[in-house]
Structures are given as structure tokens and as C-alpha cells.
């Protein structure tokens, strides 16, 4: 699975990245994390409030850092 974080370096983007990496370590989740910083590409997802979170091409959240349970359930859904 590929998880993308859309964001041009805002602090919430970094928090989201940290959370995801921590979850990956804790539960040894098999995903690859990519960061999208190009504004045009971010806007192409229809995202204007960063961070945007994209799991295998599907946009999951915008403008917030979802909590760990929410992140885990999305990851499970997408990998199922």
C-alpha cells in the first residue's frame, strides 16, 4: 500500500507523518510513505487545507490529523 501525505511542510503535516511512522513501527504495517509537496499536485487532489491523506489513491482526510484508531481502521480497510 502507498500512503501519501499532501502538504507543503506545515506543522500538522509533520505531525501526521510522525504518527504514521510510529504506527508502522508499532504494528509493522506494510505501507510505503510518500510526501507530496508540489502545490499543483496537491490541488489536483482537490485539497486546499493541508495535510491531505491519501491511501492508495483515495483521499481520506483533509486539514486535520486523524487519531490513531481512525488511521489504523483506514489502513485495514484499504489493505483488505
Amino acid at each position: 500500500m502507498i500512503i501519501k501525505i499532501l502538504g507543503n511542510g506545515c506543522s500538522k503535516c509533520k505531525t501526521l507523518e510522525r504518527r504514521l511512522l510510529a504506527l508502522r513501527d508499532k504494528y509493522s504495517l506494510p505501507f510505503e510513505l510518500q510526501k507530496v509537496t508540489d502545490l499543483d499536485e496537491i490541488v489536483n487532489y482537490g485539497v486546499m487545507m493541508t495535510p491531505g491523506l491519501v491511501l492508495d489513491g483515495a483521499l481520506k482526510s483533509v486539514g486535520t490529523v486523524p487519531n490513531d484508531n481512525q488511521l489504523l481502521s483506514w489502513i485495514k480497510e484499504t489493505s483488505a
Binding site: 507543503n8 511542510g9 506545515c10 506543522s11 500538522k12 502545490l39 499543483d40 496537491i42 490541488v43 489536483n44 487532489y45 482537490g46 485539497v47 486546499m48 487545507m49 493541508t50 491531505g52 483521499l59 481520506k60 482526510s61 483533509v62 486539514g63 486535520t64 490529523v65 487519531n67
Partner: protein, 372 residues
């Protein structure tokens, strides 16, 4: 930053320290003035204005739903709605200047087009809560309101002008998703959130009132108590944590730069000769407003630092008109932001935007200087 740039900066700082006339009367006076202004801000503005303002901005970031506002700036939005919404939405959407650019790019390339996007881009930094509240607290509310109204009027005029000049451009880009995936699942009523915001604003207002200290303390305590009651009774812990996080984040991002800016502003009162400022921007003429406009356009002011700088320039004799002009361009434009604009909008559009803002700000300053 490239390594050689860092090296050059270090060398410059070293040379400055090496040759600075450390014991000279000018230097001592400048440092003392910087410190004095810092003390003024620390005593008068930090606790009573900035801290509540940061909390309010944090609440807006967490509790105010943005998807509804953004939808009004979409590709199908009517012009008559899109422009006013674009000018005021900066206050809700762009709590921090770092969030403006993605929003601007989105509105420009996917949404209502260049006019509303430009209007949003211009008012975004000027209309944010912390900036208005600090301006009012330091320079008076006529300035805060003048700044607000001028920014809104200019943004609409500039936006309409750009939309007219580049009407070809706007026809190309109205496909694709706009505002995807915004969650709107806050389980609180609008009334609760409005009350929550108003109570916090109340704290700030009461701090500013000239009433008996005992009464003031009681009122502030009452309002803070009410805010806390809402937090404890109504809000889920998760959102409260996010609120505190947002507030702290903003504080971290703004306050250190503001302190540096305040210190610098204090020193310029001693360093820059009064006659120089009076001659250059003392009168409310076309020329002095143009000087203020150009200076503001290129100079970079970190968020809120324009307030102490303009405060001190006015103490040196800068007229009210040029001061407002400097507020308008100083906030919205800077050399770094121009470079980004050229990249996002293209040369022609960016130059037209920058020039129209600079010219309109001159007129706004002149009118403000004449009337108030």
C-alpha cells in the same frame, strides 16, 4: 539556504560585532530603546491581547467548519457571492500565513478563478484575527478598522480588474474536484461554537476596557470560567487537545519573530533620523504614499511585526496615510512572496496583481490620511 549564504551571513555578523562602536552613545541608546519597546509590549500587549488572540485563532482553526465556506469559492460559484466571500474568508480559512498558498492555488486553478483568488490572497494576511486585534490594541481601533475596510475594498477592486484583464485564462480551468474530502463531523451546535468564540473575544475586550481593576479582574475570571465550562462540559477531549495544539503552534510560529521585530522597531526610533522620515513620508502626498507602498511591497514583515515597525515609524513622524499604505502592501507583498506568485500565476498575471495592489494601496492611504 545554501552553505555559502550561511557563511556570508556569519561573516557579516562577525564584522558587525568586530567593528560595532559598542560603547558609543548611539548604540547604547538604540539598545535601550529596543528593550523599552519590548517591555511595553510584554506589559501591555502580550497577556491582554496576543494570548487571547492566539486562543481565538486556535479555536477558529479547530472548531469552525471550512468546507461550507470553501464551496462558495468553487468553479460554479456566482461572482456576486464569490468576491465578498473571498475577501472575508481569509479570517476563517487562513489563520496562519502558511495556509494561504494552497488555498490560493486551489481557488485560482480549480475554483472561482483569478479574481476571487487574488482577493483572497490579498486580504488573507490582513484580515486575520491576531493582526486586527494587535493593530487595534497598539495603534487604536480606527486604524484596525481602516486597515480592514481598505483591504477588503482594494481586494475586490483588484480582483475584478484582474478577472477582467485575464478573462481568457478563467475559461480553461474549471474541471476536476473542488474541496474534496473535507470532514465536517464536529458534533457541536453552531450556537455552542459561536458562544465559545464570543466569550474568548470578551476576555480580550474586557482587558482593553478602562474600568476599575477589581471589576475587570472579576469579569475576566467570569469569562474565562465560562470558556472553561464549555470546554469541560461540551467539548470532547480530543478536540480540546487539538485546540491547545493549534494555539501553541501559532504562538511558536509568531511570538519569537514578533519579539525580534519589536526590538528592531524600538532601535529604529533612535537609528533613523526623524527629519528623514518626516521629509520622506511625513505628509499625505502622492509621493510619500508611493514611497510607503513600494517599501512595503518589497520589504518582508514576519506576521504581526508590521505593527511595532509602523508604530515607531509613526512616532518618527510618518503620516497616517502612508502608514496605512505601508500596512496594506507590507502585509500582502514581499520579495519572497512575489517570487512564489510569479511561479504560481505566471509573469503577466503576477505583475498585474502586484502593480494593481501597489497603486490601489496608495489611493487607499491617501483617502484614509485625508479623512481620518
Amino acid at each position: 539556504m545554501k552553505e555559502w549564504v550561511k557563511f556570508l551571513i556569519l561573516v557579516a555578523v562577525f564584522l558587525l560585532f568586530y567593528f560595532a562602536p559598542a560603547g558609543g552613545p548611539g548604540v547604547v541608546a538604540a539598545l535601550a530603546a529596543g528593550l523599552a519597546l519590548l517591555q511595553e509590549y510584554a506589559r501591555l500587549h502580550v497577556l491582554t491581547c496576543l494570548v487571547p488572540a492566539f486562543f481565538i485563532a486556535g479555536s477558529i482553526a479547530v472548531y469552525v467548519r471550512k468546507d461550507a465556506v470553501l464551496k462558495l469559492l468553487g468553479p460554479t460559484a456566482k461572482k456576486i457571492i464569490a468576491y465578498p466571500v473571498a475577501t472575508i474568508s481569509g479570517g476563517i480559512l487562513a489563520v496562519c500565513s502558511c495556509t494561504i498558498l494552497p488555498l490560493f492555488t486551489g481557488i485560482y486553478k480549480r475554483g472561482a478563478g483569478i479574481g476571487p483568488a487574488a482577493a483572497f490572497l490579498f486580504t488573507g494576511p490582513a484580515i486575520n484575527v491576531t493582526a486586527i486585534l494587535l493593530t487595534g490594541s497598539v495603534l487604536g481601533w480606527d486604524f484596525a478598522v481602516g486597515r480592514l475596510v481598505a483591504a477588503m475594498v482594494i481586494s475586490i477592486v483588484a480582483g475584478l480588474f484582474l478577472a477582467f484583464v485575464f478573462r481568457e485564462h478563467d475559461r480553461k480551468n474549471s474541471n476536476g474536484d473542488f474541496v474534496a474530502g473535507m470532514s465536517s463531523d464536529l458534533p457541536y451546535s453552531t450556537t455552542t461554537i459561536a458562544l465559545f468564540l464570543l466569550l474568548q473575544l470578551g476576555v480580550l475586550v474586557v482587558f482593553g476596557l478602562a474600568i476599575e481593576p477589581g471589576l475587570k479582574r472579576a469579569l475576566v475570571a467570569l469569562l474565562i470560567g465560562a470558556v472553561l465550562a464549555i470546554v469541560l462540559v461540551k467539548f470532547q477531549k480530543e478536540h480540546t487537545v487539538e485546540w491547545i495544539h493549534e494555539t501553541w503552534d501559532l504562538t511558536k510560529k509568531i511570538l519569537p519573530y514578533l519579539f525580534v521585530g519589536v526590538f528592531v522597531a524600538g532601535t529604529i526610533e533612535v537609528i533613523i533620523p526623524q527629519a528623514f522620515i518626516t521629509r520622506l513620508v511625513g505628509e499625505n502626498t502622492l509621493l510619500s504614499n508611493a514611497v510607503a507602498s513600494t517599501f512595503g511591497a518589497f520589504m518582508y514583515f514576519a506576521t504581526l511585526t508590521e505593527v511595532p515597525i509602523i508604530q515607531k515609524l509613526m512616532a518618527l513622524g510618518m503620516g497616517r496615510g502612508p502608514a496605512l499604505t505601508l500596512f496594506l502592501t507590507g502585509n500582502a507583498l514581499s520579495l519572497p512572496s512575489m517570487i512564489v506568485l510569479f511561479k504560481v500565476m505566471g509573469k503577466k498575471q503576477a505583475s498585474a496583481y502586484i502593480l494593481s495592489i501597489m497603486v490601489l494601496s496608495v489611493f487607499a492611504g491617501m483617502i484614509f490620511g485625508e479623512l481620518l
